[in-house]
Symmetry: C2
Subunit: 382 residues, 2 copies
Amino acid sequence: MQDNFQIEAVCGQARLARLATAHGVVPTPVFMPVGTLAAVKGVPQAVLEELGVEILLANTYHLYLRPGAELVRDSGGLHRFMSWDRAILTDSGGFQVFSLASLRQLTEEGVQFRSHLDGSLHFLSPERATEIQIALGADVIMAFDECTEYPAELARARASMELTLRWAKRCRDCFEAHRQKTPVDAKGRKNPQLLFAIVQGGMFPELRAECTQRLVAMDFPGYAIGGLSVGEPRALTYEIVARTLEHLPPDKPRYLMGVGTPEEIVQYARLGIDMMDCVLPTRAARHGLLFTSEGRMNIKAARYARDFEPLDPDCGCSVCARYSRAYLRHLYACHEVLAQVLNTIHNLAYYLDTMRRVRQAINFGDFRRAARGVSSAEGKAN
Amino acid sequence: MQDNFQIEAVCGQARLARLATAHGVVPTPVFMPVGTLAAVKGVPQAVLEELGVEILLANTYHLYLRPGAELVRDSGGLHRFMSWDRAILTDSGGFQVFSLASLRQLTEEGVQFRSHLDGSLHFLSPERATEIQIALGADVIMAFDECTEYPAELARARASMELTLRWAKRCRDCFEAHRQKTPVDAKGRKNPQLLFAIVQGGMFPELRAECTQRLVAMDFPGYAIGGLSVGEPRALTYEIVARTLEHLPPDKPRYLMGVGTPEEIVQYARLGIDMMDCVLPTRAARHGLLFTSEGRMNIKAARYARDFEPLDPDCGCSVCARYSRAYLRHLYACHEVLAQVLNTIHNLAYYLDTMRRVRQAINFGDFRRAARGVSSAEGKAN
């Protein structure tokens, strides 16, 4: 058992734990809202605090392009730059390079790519991605990996996994050599960062097992499962997650990247996942798709025009406490920016409440508590 | 002296007063933020409350088109619809019909026009505009007027003014006949509305004087000065405002429509104006133009990229308390919606603080207190 991750209760495979960072203790299982460019789109930091967000995710690829890692370091690090005193996790940029950038040239050394913004030429490698993340100064940083495409043949998935393994070692070596370069925070401290490795291996359980074992042999303080939710059927995602978890050490945090729906995050927590992130609640909010205890609501639908009931009578968030479906529908129909702001606040509240219910369920030893509300939502989804 | 407007102090021509409404007492001089479609673009109502907004302006023309006055009435009125329990003023739609709608056909009866949204055909008249405003249920509603274009010859300005006078009488008659149709609020009360008249008369002081006197003879509970800030030189605006104020009764609220910069709203208050509204703070915010004690800042400027100082060290708003210029510049440069949210909050705070300073100055009998900060801002504007 290491110091920064304390398991407090288990329920089946699910774990209730506390991840200690220099910016607060994060209760897990946790959902991390995505703040791509050091901002959750449309939501002020004070509102995120009120929502109970304990850890945010920010994107290395995006912050490297704008405003640049050196600027963030010079400002005192990401926490000071964005005025967020709770925990932050940065991804390594690997996923974005493979999904957003163009004209990629992959070599053993790293990836040359053109910015999705202006076509300018850039190069990221395990060392550069690590140095950038040291400069940003997040509490948890991620190894630079290759996100294997789907579908991929066994030979291709193995070659990609081997590259990710070699890169993981280079990330760790670079991190050990340069971790002291992390910015000095407002209190004059250097933020002790945790470098997590990422398990790849495509949709092959035997590769996932091997990748996990070889990463665990390198002894990282936490492990992520990457390369999922890339187009495969959901049942396959579950299988790969479950099979990978069998090989991860029980005393280290486990982070499943880029998932999922409210129903899915409950199920992944049940399998033993501790950390998750997804753009779904924030992106769906911008498109008027709201998650509620009565199921999914497409707030732009005409049937809400004269629906003067609260958005979700079972939700205690500031939006549901104050606004009717008719008002939210009006804002969305008129393209008012406030629609995006309020929809995002509600969807994040729904996700965070879901994870609070999961943690309570684990604590009380009855995981059905967590699933109940969500399966009712599944039933009524419209 | 009528019940709903109590003057508490005077300083030169400026007046400190309290406008009593069913939704709270509004201290004047007051600046009214614009919430065109029953929302201040990007700012949740709770934030407006924290900012100390005591009265909001909403637009009859826009709300008539979307979501429609009957829907708002059925929801319980504008206050309930938008969950805003403080005062609201609705304009009559006259200005928007003349500035936004197309294919206008003006007759004695009213104005036929096509919606700027979908080209659909609509008709507004003094009676329709009044009925709509009764349905919306704002605390202060405005007579339907013709906003005389600039420049206009004397004969044209007189004819337009005469129409506005005939329409004012029709508005008042309609209001007296139908005011009981205002929606029932959350507490089961009907909101007692105040109908203000609008002084027109182009840029001719003698027409303004005549229009004022004839409206005052009809005895409205408040008077607005319309048809200004329509392209005329600012010195002419001041002259017309000053010459019009000479003829307005001292014991009734005086509302100057559609002004102005922070410097101007101080000067208009000094002339004896009690209420003002303007899209400038909110619209400028969306374009990255920020009003500060050090002058105007164009936050997108490259020189703020590494400026880690607070936006305005002399401002106590939640944005200046928390965020640096570099961060706000980053958000704006990346087209993050949060830029609009935070910029708008700050600009509104700046306007509201300016008016608080004006009220304090009147109370202490030294109007130079109010002007000081602003003239310094004028000097340093960049």
